[in-house]
Symmetry: C2
Subunit: 203 residues, 2 copies
C-alpha cells in the first residue's frame, strides 16, 4: 500500500469511528461506511476484505484514541489513588472529551453482542478484559500504597466501578440528564469512602 492508500485507510478509520460511536457495530455497514467516507463500496473493499475486518480495525483505532486521551494522561498522576481517580475521571464521558460524536463503542457492544458469537465479539471481550485488568491493577496499587484498605476485594470494586460508568453513560447520553456528572462523582466518592484504609481516613 502506497502513501495515498495509507491516507485513504486512515480517513476511513477516522470517519468510521465517528459512525461507530453513533450507531454501534450494527450501524457500521459497508453502505453506511462508504457514504461517511465518501467513497464507493468497491473502493472500500480495496482496503478491507470483510465488514468484520472493518469493525475490528475500528475497535483497534478506538483503543488507540482511548490510550492517548484516557490512559496516558492518567498515568502522569501519582501512583495509587490519584492515578486511579485520574483514570476514572478521564474515562467518564471520554468519547466527547476525545472529540467523537457519539457514545462509547465498547459499552454499546457489551449489550449489542451479548448473544452473538464470532471474531467481533471476541475482540470486544479482549478489550473489556484489558480495561478491567488495568482498573484492577491500579486499584491493587492503591491498596499496596495504603490508599485503599488492605482487605478490599479489587475485583468487586472494579465490578461496581463499571456499574457507575454504565449508569453515567445512560444518564448522560440516553436520558440527557444534566446531573449525570454529579451523580457519577457522588457514587464514586461513596465507593471510595467505604474502600479507604483507616490510615487514609485520618489524614
Amino acid at each position: 500500500m502506497g502513501l495515498q492508500g495509507a491516507a485513504t485507510r486512515e480517513r476511513i478509520l477516522h470517519e468510521g469511528l465517528d459512525l461507530l460511536t453513533e450507531t454501534g457495530l450494527s450501524g457500521v455497514t459497508l453502505g453506511a461506511l462508504a457514504q461517511h467516507a465518501a467513497m464507493s463500496k468497491s473502493g472500500l473493499f480495496a482496503h478491507f476484505s470483510s465488514i468484520e475486518e472493518v469493525q475490528i480495525e475500528l475497535l483497534d483505532h478506538m483503543a488507540e484514541v482511548s490510550a492517548a486521551k484516557v490512559v496516558r494522561p492518567a498515568m502522569l498522576a501519582a501512583a495509587g489513588l490519584p492515578r486511579l481517580k485520574a483514570l476514572v475521571n478521564n474515562w467518564l464521558g471520554w468519547t466527547t472529551k476525545a472529540g467523537l460524536r457519539g457514545g462509547c463503542p465498547v459499552a454499546a457492544a457489551l449489550f449489542e453482542l451479548d448473544d452473538a458469537e464470532g471474531p467481533v465479539r471476541a475482540k470486544v471481550l479482549a478489550m473489556e478484559a484489558y480495561w478491567r485488568g488495568l482498573l484492577t491493577q491500579l486499584t491493587r496499587q492503591a491498596v499496596e500504597l495504603g490508599h485503599l484498605r488492605a482487605d478490599l476485594d479489587a475485583s468487586q470494586f472494579v465490578w461496581e466501578l463499571c456499574g457507575i460508568y454504565l449508569s453515567h453513560h445512560v444518564s448522560r447520553r440516553f436520558l440527557r440528564d444534566p446531573r449525570s456528572e454529579k451523580r457519577a462523582q457522588a457514587a464514586f466518592a461513596a465507593m471510595l469512602d467505604r474502600s479507604r484504609s483507616s490510615e487514609e481516613e485520618n489524614r
Copy 2:
C-alpha cells in the same frame, strides 16, 4: 380484526420479543421478523404499518411480560425494604427468569438509541422513566417506614442501583461470568448497608 387475526398478531409479538431480546431493536427488521414468525413480509404489513410500530408494540409487549413476572410478584412482599429487595431480585436477570432467549431490550436500547431521535427512542425513554419512578417510589416508601435512613437521596440511590443492574447484565450476559449474581448481591448489600437507618441497623 377477527379471532385468527388476533392470534396471528399475538404470535408475531411472541416471536418478535424473543428476537428483540437477542438482537436489540436494530435486529428487528421486517425480514428477520417475517422469518421468525414464519410468514411473509406482506403478511406482516397486514398487522403493522411500519417497523417503528412493530418495535413499539414489542416494547409494550415486553412491559406486559415484565409487569407480570417482575413487578406484580414483588408487590406481594411487605411494604418498604422487603418489597424493594423483592423487586431488585426479580429484576436482575429477569428476561431469563421470564423464559426469554436474550437480554433486556430496554438496557440494550439505552445504548443503541442514545444518538437516535424519533418515536422508538421516546417510547424507551418513557419506559425507563416509569421504571426509575417505580424504584424511586419504593425507595421513598422504605425511607418513610424507617427501613432506610431519613436523609437518603432516593434519586442517587436509584441511579446507583441502575448501575448495579447494568453491570450485572454485562457480567452475566456478555462476560458470562458465573460470579455475576454474587457480585450484584454484594454491591446491593453494600449500598443498603450505607443507606440503612441506625434504628434498622440495631435490629
